[in-house]
Structures are given as structure tokens and as C-alpha cells.
Symmetry: C2
DNA sequence: ACTGAAAGACACAGACT
DNA sequence: AGTCTGTGTCTTTCAGT
């Protein structure tokens, strides 16, 4: 069935996406629940090739996940904070420990290794300022090897999209 | 915390979510394509109440959107940059103009109004450094009223989730 | 690679407890 | 609010072009 083993598919494009693949991705990015029939009619194809193309993009990891987005404020996570972290020591072991801890903190929804004066950038969500203060003082600050910490508060969301393919 | 407009109900929870609603949200956040039957069996309910609860959460805006996530590198958007922007003037009109322009730039996938020395934080994706340089010089810098600009490069993704409800 | 048809799984609505 | 049952629509497979 499959030509290549999809084990080591972490970096490079698995194959060249043609215009029809990109059209499918454009539609799926906006609405994960669009029907195969609907896609098929919009790109002037029958369901079978559309279904096969989606399957191929799922198997090759181009399509990573279908997720449901929830309204921040309505689930009581109205406060968003960008948090900068630098560690005291920069050896492999302490870095790995930090990463493990971050992955266990559900308030942290994103974490990036960044260039510049800080080591990491975190996106944190909390119900309100009290909850964030508690998180900052009792969880973040308590991480071993923690160096400097700086919080930048998000006052408004101007744009938020997951549309990588345009 | 987000500002409220008088005409929309964007801020407050529409109603109290019970444990079953939260259980449904937890499953949907991880997989938008999970079947109602599957959810029903996992939370020990039949399909009808699950279906009704999902519908209610969609209608009230708690569930915002079902999206498909695509692998950055595999669609040739391997470079992620955090970009800080300050405007020269801070009147309402120039702010609105900036927001309009940002929404038209498909390289910008997120934009927040932030506290601190800069006005906005942008998350930008590009194929490579050449593409980002072109975006920076020919698009971002050319925006009228543009003040200071600072780029922070993402060297590694430690954590990325959309799981707001835990 | 694609079309068209056909089987099985599913969402969704109705009658009822 | 919930279960059970039925109907129409969908995904998914298969034979054929």
C-alpha cells in the first residue's frame, strides 16, 4: 500500500502538494467538519479522490489534528499573559526538567524557545488576575533553576487564525 | 480581560457548564471529529443529550470553531517569528488602519494588543529567513504610522495546545 | 486518477419515560 | 433531562473507465 515508511517525517514536506490538495487544506483549516461531498463539489471532483487525498495528508502528517476551539472568556479563561523566562543554568539536564514541568502546567498553552535575552516565551491563560498571580508566585516562580521572569499582559486580541495555507 | 461591546455577548459565560459539558469539551478539543456516539459511550449517556449539549454550546458561542491543524514545516512555513510593534501615533484612526492592514497580511497568524513598551505583538510564519526578511522590509515596515519594530525568533516549539478546558 | 454506485456508519429528529 | 427508534445523509469501499 504505502511507498515510504512515515516514521521519520518530522521535517521535510512528505510530497509536493498540488493545487487540489491546497484547496482541500484551505477548506479544512476553516472548518474541520466540512463534508467530503461539500469539498468535492467546491473543487469539482467526486468524493473518492477527495477522500483519498485527505487520507494521504493525514497519514503523511501534513494534517496534524482536528481540534475544537473554545471561547476563552466563556470558559473562564479570559486573561491571557505572555510570560518571559530565563533559566539560571543552561545545561541539557535543567532544560529538560523545565520543559517537563511546563508540559504539566495546564495554564501554559504555548511555550517556545526563543532568541534574545530570555530563553523561553510562554502563553498563559487564567480566569483572572488573582488566578494568574497565584500561578506566577506559586507555580512558575517555584520551578527549580528559574532565573528572570517577566509578564506582558494581553489587552486585546486583534487577530487569531490557524490558516497556515492560503 | 477583553472589553465588552454593548451589542454582543462576548464576555460572560452564557450559562454554567456542568461536568458533562466539560467532559464533552475535553474530548472535542482533542479531536473535533470524534463521533457523538463515541462521546456518549465515554461519558455514559445516549447520543441525544450529547447532541443537544453540543448544539447548545455551539449556539451560545462556547464552541467557536472546528479547525484543522496543519504541520508548519510540511507546508513550507517552518520559520516562526514573534514581532513587536509600536506605532508613532496612538489615536483611534491610525490604530484602526493598522488593524485592518494586519488582518490582510496572511503571514501574520496572531496579533495582540499588549501592555509594556510596545503596542502590539505579532506571531508571523514564513517559509524561511529570506521570505521573512522580505515580509519585514517590504510589508511590515511600510505600514503607515509604523514606529519601532523588533523581531524575536522562535528556535523551538516546546508546547502548543488548544486545550483551554482541562 | 478519476467516476458512479452501493454498503454501512452516522447525525439528527420524533415519540416516549 | 434522559432512553430508544427510525430516517435521511454521510463516509468509505469497490467495480469500472
Amino acid at each position: 500500500m504505502e511507498k515510504t515508511n512515515a516514521k521519520d517525517n518530522a521535517t521535510l514536506p512528505a510530497y509536493a502538494l498540488d493545487d487540489k490538495d491546497l484547496a482541500i487544506l484551505r477548506l479544512l483549516q476553516q472548518n474541520a467538519k466540512i463534508t467530503v461531498r461539500d469539498i468535492a463539489s467546491q473543487i469539482h471532483l467526486s468524493t473518492t479522490p477527495v477522500h483519498e487525498r485527505i487520507k494521504r495528508m493525514e497519514d503523511s502528517g501534513i494534517i496534524k489534528q482536528y481540534v475544537t476551539l473554545v471561547d476563552h472568556a466563556k470558559v473562564r479563561k479570559g486573561l491571557m499573559v505572555i510570560c518571559y523566562v530565563s533559566l539560571k543554568e543552561h545545561n541539557k539536564k535543567s532544560g529538560a526538567k523545565f520543559i517537563k514541568t511546563i508540559n504539566e502546567l495546564h495554564e501554559v498553552i504555548e511555550c517556545y524557545n526563543i532568541s534574545g535575552e530570555f530563553d523561553f516565551m510562554l502563553k498563559v491563560v487564567a480566569e483572572n488576575m488573582d488566578a494568574y498571580y497565584d500561578f506566577h508566585v506559586n507555580k512558575l516562580s517555584q520551578i527549580e533553576n528559574m532565573g528572570h521572569l517577566q509578564s506582558v499582559f494581553v489587552m486585546g486580541i486583534i487577530k487569531q487564525t490557524h490558516q497556515l495555507v492560503n
